[in-house]
């Protein structure tokens, strides 16, 4: 196994792999680069493009060279990508997940001041197991008209994601970790997941620990999301709850996400390539910028993360510097410049 390179704010400049992506990707990636420069973040970018054609026989869209770059740098930032339609392509997410062993999908959901939704002051983090569960891909037809799908839960993967959630909570000054399960019905599989969480919880006495059934969790989130802080759960529940939480704060266009792996971690905006506005200077870089803030926290460049996040949120809170999708009239570069000014 590989030694993890230690991160520290004083170890000089670090290199990060950047995939600007397609559509509005290059515009919002440039915005992030500009803001990082203005903030003096000690990061060098190594830029790789992702092809829209297969680069090898297995249908991958990403070269080995690009994957090696992420593994070498340990960290990547990724814009939206258009996945070509048709068979024979392995989706980029799947390729990266396998190549980098990305086991945790982390999505913080933070209300954006200035973007009013039905829910105010949402501030929670979803940690989703990313490699097994209901997404095992093991399905078969027993007899015509009877189909089975296998959900697989392992002790190793469950321990790893729960461990990550507690570490994340500790590192980010969070108060509580809630494990979401359905172990009253799926006694063995979700029971195993729950047991792994229970085994880890005592190691973090400063954090409150709570177990909650999936149905109660979603009911509570739709009613009043303030009951939760950091939440950890198996794959499918994480998929559902992370999208639900994105809905609470205004949709996928504003939510950052991180994929944490054994070999490297990749941070990305969850929204699409927005071909309708690509190249017009209208894109809102917030989701990618907040993903890069997550990345900075992951790299323990916390001061830079806090400064950039604060500048971004104050800029959005001001109606005159918002982009069109948030009801303003600023262009991508006007918005970006406003954030740079707010950094000072």
């Amino acid at each position: 196994s590989q030694a993890v390179r230690p991160f520290s704010a004083t170890s000089g400049t670090q290199t990060v792999t950047l995939f600007p992506g397609d559509g509005i990707g290059p515009e919002i990636a440039k915005s992030v680069q500009d803001i990082f420069k203005a903030a003096g973040v000690p990061i060098d970018w190594e830029i790789h493009t992702v092809s829209t054609k297969a680069v090898d026989k297995s249908g991958r869209l990403i070269s080995q060279e690009a994957i090696d770059s992420v593994i070498r740098n340990k960290v990547g930032l990724k814009g939206p990508l258009a996945t070509p339609i048709g068979k024979g392509h392995q989706s980029l997410n799947l390729t990266l997940r396998k190549a980098l062993k990305l086991y945790a999908n982390v999505r913080p959901c933070l209300s954006i001041p200035g973007f009013k939704t039905k829910y105010d002051d949402v501030d929670l983090v979803i940690c989703r197991e990313n490699t097994e569960g209901e997404y095992s891909g093991l399905e078969h037809e027993v007899v015509p008209g009877v189909v089975e799908a296998l959900k697989v839960i392992t002790k190793d993967a469950s321990t790893r994601i729960c461990q990550y959630a507690f570490e994340y909570a500790k590192d980010n000054g969070r108060k509580k970790v809630t494990v979401v399960h359905k172990a009253n019905i799926m006694k063995m599989s979700d029971g195993l997941f729950l047991q792994c969480a229970r085994d880890i919880a005592p190691g973090y006495p400063a954090l409150e620990y709570e177990e909650i059934l999936l149905d109660v969790a979603v009911m509570q989130l739709a009613r009043d999301p303030h009951a939760y802080d950091v939440m950890v759960m198996p794959n499918l529940y994480g998929d559902i709850i992370s999208d639900l939480c994105a809905g609470l704060i205004g949709g996928l266009g504003l939510t950052p996400s991180g994929n944490i792996g054994e070999d490297a971690s990749v941070f990305e905006a969850v929204h699409g390539t927005a071909p309708d506005i690509a190249g017009k200077g209208l894109a809102n870089p917030t989701a990618l910028l907040l993903s890069s803030v997550m990345m900075l926290r992951h790299m323990k460049l916390t001061d830079f993360a806090d400064r950039i996040e604060r500048a971004a949120l104050t800029t959005i809170a001001n109606p005159t510097t918002r982009t069109k999708d948030l009801g303003g009239s600023a262009s991508t570069s006007e918005f970006t410049n406003a954030i740079c000014r707010a950094l000072a």
Binding site: V147, E148, I185, V218, A222, G247, G251
Partner: protein, 336 residues
């Protein structure tokens, strides 16, 4: 309506009060029914503590009466016996779970007025109970989807939409990942949809559905889905209308129907405190009255509930009030 011979006879209804707040809520319902002179007779069955099987008399009674109301029987998490609620649905083949998600006057919500129906497959899917340990630390759980059950629930959903003058049916799935299982479910929905050209049919992936539900819940009408997604979507609905204790629900099979609060929770945390909200279970009992063809009693009770709530003076804790279960019950009786 014209009285038919035999209409005035008393109907027997099987009751399983269940755990948590079940007793208190059933007390509330029975006193309201009594005050309204509803011609039903309750056949009440308690589940012995720590029972691991359903007492067979309960199943017999439900088969005989054809109709019942129930609360939630608590299931231990992890180790311990399987859910008696699931056993009941399986043994009586109550294949459809219906949750009517609607707002009520006088109960503030974030989203304004809502009115949609979640129809959930109630017998298979992730609730198959088939699990095994392949090797230490590796556990598999089987999700089972059958064409028969999928066709049956899809058919129920469209027929429900048709009879209730609803405009649209949304099938909720995750067929991009579970291609075979959820694919089979969608195939059944598409087949049935063709028979109902007047009803709009759409498909939506479950994660997107949940995102839409908390942002634009007004866009939903009738929703149909496999078991686990129904558990999730029905509970989001309960959260949207402000409390788990507002929406009524029912488990329907070919010959038997058992009604209960839409979001099925025992609420053990508030048991024996006289603070539970009986509305959801009461409206489920009202659904039951319509099912056994006593619509005027149903209207009268529902009207009383709505009057009490819209006056806003007597409300339970979960919806921002201070009234006890018994005060709320008395207020409803006073409005009958």
């Amino acid at each position: 309506a014209v009285q038919k011979p035999g209409d005035a006879r008393e109907r027997h209804v099987t009751v399983i009060p269940g755990d948590g707040v079940g007793e208190e809520i059933f007390d509330s319902i029975s006193s309201i029914f009594k005050a309204a002179c509803v011609p039903v007779k309750w056949d009440v069955y308690e589940i012995p503590p720590n029972a691991t099987e359903l007492p067979p008399q309960i199943i017999e009674s439900l088969r005989k009466n054809g109709v019942g109301i129930k609360g939630v029987i608590l299931t231990p998490i992890k180790d311990g016996h399987r859910s008696l609620n699931v056993m009941l649905r399986k043994q009586l083949d109550l294949f459809a779970h219906i949750i009517h998600v609607h707002t009520l006057p006088g109960i503030p919500t974030r989203h304004g007025d809502l009115d949609f129906v979640v129809i959930r497959e109630n017998t298979e899917g992730e609730y198959s109970g088939m699990e095994h340990e392949v090797q230490p630390g590796v556990v598999e759980s089987l999700k089972v989807i059958t064409r028969t059950a999928s066709l049956r629930i899809a058919d129920y959903a469209f027929e429900y939409a048709f009879l209730n003058n609803r405009k649209k049916v949304t099938a909720v799935h995750k067929a991009n990942i579970m291609k075979l299982c959820d694919g089979e479910f969608l195939k059944a929905c598409r087949e049935i949809a063709k028979k109902y050209p007047s009803i709009e049919y759409e498909e939506m992936i479950v994660d997107n559905t949940c995102m839409q539900l908390v942002a634009y819940p007004q866009k939903f009408d009738v929703m149909v889905m496999p078991n686990l997604y129904g558990n999730v979507v029905g509970n989001i609905g309960a959260g949207l209308v402000g409390s788990p204790a507002i929406c009524p629900g029912g488990n329907v099979g070919a010959n038997v129907a058992v009604f209960e609060q839409g979001a099925r929770h025992a609420a053990a945390d508030i048991a024996n405190k006289n603070i539970a909200n009986p509305t959801g279970e009461l409206l489920a009992a009202v659904m039951m009255l319509r099912y056994i063809n006593l619509p005027s009693f149903a209207d009268r009770i529902q009207g009383a509930v709505e009057m009490v709530l819209s006056e806003g003076k007597v409300r339970t804790l979960d919806v921002g009030g201070t009234a006890s279960t018994t005060d709320f019950t008395k207020a409803i009786i006073a409005h009958l």
